[in-house]
């Protein structure tokens, strides 16, 4: 039905257990080469928050065969782009290069899957780099600090409550032994997914992958991702961050909801549609009511972070108009969510939301890196290739009743409200 389903995407496993996905796109003579590991910040050992992300930085520090910087210098010399990222559930590395360099990228990437070497000389300055990264992203931004506090409050026990980059005092203690222990545990062929998107065919990729990644001995089972489960929580929480640097206040609500991986059939798709109906742009319910009609907000929206291994998050946010208090705006948001639990969304609204979501799957095909990221993130969070292919059909199948049930999953007892406000100024004497 959709072009997404028609795209000739191939997938197979190497003998050592590494999964391979090939996404052909012959419009430009370039390829995107990515390796995803099915571990992220939520797998950081207790007291070692930030180790997944720190190791991601250290993966650029060289191997027995290629000293520090050799791989990166080679990528640059070839006119390639490279980087890496760490999230709750995965860590990924990629290069974008002209097609003829794919084999060389695979040799380098396969090499650093098992042969990383680390000395204190390179580890210590890199830890400072990570601390500066944290200062830049968090310490300089009250909104980012509130986000951290809201997540800590939302998850009583599950590691999604910890920042991906880690807590400053724990980052400061991480050393090469921590990094190597974590590396040996997770960087294995069984735990990795290779995605190649671009001007290349399946058999070319298969041959190159067997000659490079295929030479890495299997380790047996993939590593276990044992994470503590959330206890039932029955208290709504309000977290307020007041800072003199805040000139534009904001309110957010975050709910724990099922993810694609933990939901009952159809539930996650309905949450996706609900997020669009509630807060996907200028025609959404939140925007229409709060911004256009009541004029108590200048912006409002919602989104659902469906791709997660464990129960995940549904976000709602709004920026108040100058004369509206956060309490009043938050109450209006609450009223809209209650309304959605019983609302018969007009058929036209539901159709528009589905059209938009399904179109996104087609727009994604215009960009090989978007496709590679979509497949990689899905496969690293429990979805199968068949799940991804059938996603547009499953979105089309969402009914008004499904949407109401999805809204009922937004349980205020499993949510945190965050207020970002200017510092209270003492009343004038």
């Amino acid at each position: 039905m959709t072009a997404a389903a028609a795209a000739p995407i191939a997938d197979f496993h190497l003998a050592n257990g590494m999964q391979v996905v090939v996404i052909p796109d012959h419009r430009a003579p370039v390829v995107t080469h990515m390796v995803w590991y099915r571990n992220g910040s939520a797998d950081d050992p207790l007291g070692k928050s930030g180790i997944a992300h720190f190791l991601e930085h250290l993966m650029f520090k060289g191997t027995h065969a290629h000293g520090p910087g050799v791989f990166s210098d080679r990528v640059a010399e070839l006119g390639g782009q490279e980087n890496a990222f760490t999230a709750n559930d995965y860590t990924a590395y990629f290069q974008r290069v002209a097609r003829e360099h794919l084999g060389e990228m695979m040799r380098f990437e396969a090499d650093r899957m098992t042969n990383l070497t680390l000395s204190d000389e390179v580890v210590t300055p890199e830890r400072d780099v990570v601390l500066e990264e944290r200062r830049m992203r968090t310490d300089a931004d009250p909104a980012a600090q509130l986000q951290e506090a809201v997540h800590s409050a939302l998850f009583a026990h599950h590691p999604y409550g910890l920042p991906v980059i880690g807590w400053e005092h724990e980052i400061a203690t991480l050393d090469r032994h921590d990094a190597l222990a974590y590396y040996r545990r997770f960087y294995t062929p069984e735990n990795a997914v290779l995605i190649v998107a671009g001007d290349v065919g399946t058999e070319e990729v298969r041959a190159l992958a067997e000659a490079t990644y295929g030479a890495i001995p299997a380790r047996g089972e993939p590593p276990e991702r044992a994470r503590p489960k959330e206890p039932p929580i029955r208290a709504h929480r309000l977290v307020t961050l007041a800072d003199a640097k805040v000139e534009q206040p904001s309110v957010s609500r975050i709910y724990i909801t099922p993810s694609y991986n933990t939901a009952k059939p159809g539930e996650a798709e309905a949450l996706e549609v609900l997020a669009h109906l509630l807060g996907g742009g200028a025609t959404s319910l939140l925007y229409k009511r709060l911004v256009m009609e009541q004029k108590i907000a200048v912006a409002a929206g919602a989104y659902y972070l469906g791709g997660a291994l464990d129960d995940t998050r549904f976000f709602i946010y709004a920026l108040p108009a100058p004369d509206c208090s956060l309490e009043k705006l938050d109450a209006a948001i609450g009223a809209l969510i209650d309304e959605a639990k019983h609302k018969d969304f007009p058929a036209g609204d539901l159709e528009r939301a589905k059209t938009r979501l399904v179109a996104d799957a087609i727009y994604a095909q215009d960009n090989q890196t978007s496709m590679a990221r979509w497949y990689g993130a899905s496969l690293a969070t429990g979805s199968s290739i068949a799940d991804i292919r059938a996603w547009p059909e499953r979105i089309e199948a969402v009914t008004p009743d499904d949407v109401r049930k999805a809204a009922a999953l937004l349980d205020s007892r499993r949510s945190v409200t965050g207020y970002l406000t200017p510092e209270e100024t003492p009343a004038a004497a």
Partner: protein, 435 residues
Amino acid sequence: MTAHSEPLAPAPRSRAASVQKISFAGGCEAWLVEDYAVPLVALECAFPGGAAQDAPGKAGCATMLSALLDEGAGPLDDEAFHRALDEKAIELSFSVDRDTLRGHLRTLAKHVEAAFDLLRLAVNAPRFDERPVERVRAQITAGLKREANDPDSRAAKAWREAAFPDHPYGRPTNGTLESIAAITRDDLVAMRRAGFARDGLKVAIVGAIDATRARALLEAAFGALPQTAALRDVPEARMANLGAVRVVDIDLPQSTIRFGAPGVGRRDPDYDAAVVVNHILGGGVFSARLFKEVREKRGLAYSVHSGLQTQQRGAIFAGATSTKNERAAESLSVIESEIAGLAEDGPTDDELAKAKSYLTGSYALRFDSSTKIAGQLVQLQIDGFDVDYLDRRNALIEAVTMDDAKRVAKRLFGAGQLLVAVAGRPEGIEGRHLG
């Protein structure tokens, strides 16, 4: 099966040959790349003007105009316009930079007629109704408040104000709380009327559409615009305050540093050499000097980079980093010494070879999606190049000699003076005003 791990063959192709030129509306030209691999159509267009057309006291007018074009037009009010876009998943938005106002359209191929019709309305008949005007004003105002104490925004703003004190380039593109409050509907109407014309219009289309159909849709969308724009003259911008340091006090543990100097214009014969030299200093790769010295060796910062900004009336070279307050002075001194070293000695042979290799090899990465291709094609038209540039560009980079690189490094950095702006509480960096 014949398994092999030989290198894949490169696929040389002429990019210029894939571009069709379409004449429309009596003298306008659009560039088209017809491609049916994905069932969508992307369009990028640009009108000359941009934020540099903002009148004194009305900074942000072009930004506000761009935000209002898709907020009601012709028979459709803001809500109806949004709905028409959303019903068919049509993406239409407008943006401004210093010198242009640009339109961005993306649609499924099956909705191309409806998409171009909405583009036609937005360009020719925006309504500027009171409700969306006030809403967009409030949204821009909220954005300004959000960045009021953001160190990046503050450092960039302080740097620009010092660099171009009496020029539109010194004013913030998004305006100020005061200027946004002062913009009237008449200002918006006048700016659109003055700037939207056929003579400076640049258009590129990429995707599942042929030239005949594209021409008809372009005629309808742009054919009714007046022939000539009535833009105000923007004088050449000469950068001021080289050697000065501006410190913006914000109570933060980290200092955000902006540095820069006059650059090299897009049509300057030294442009390609300047690209090579900047790449060696602070291009976006791990082997750049600033990255190696500031980040890799010393762990001073997460991000450090430099780049060329080729504004039409005054090009600049500019860079940035963020480092903890205690080490801000050290970071700045490392950056200054790397810049001075490159001016003094030029790059090494190895650096020059690798920079050229990167810049030529990576050019293809700018053409791997319809939107990116359309953006590249519009930019070439704005810069005054013909389609043959697509095939010539790598030879221009290859032709940069060591003598060129040394000469241009001296030209860019030789004065040894930077304008620096720092936001934070930097230790050991004092504000320095000239004269």
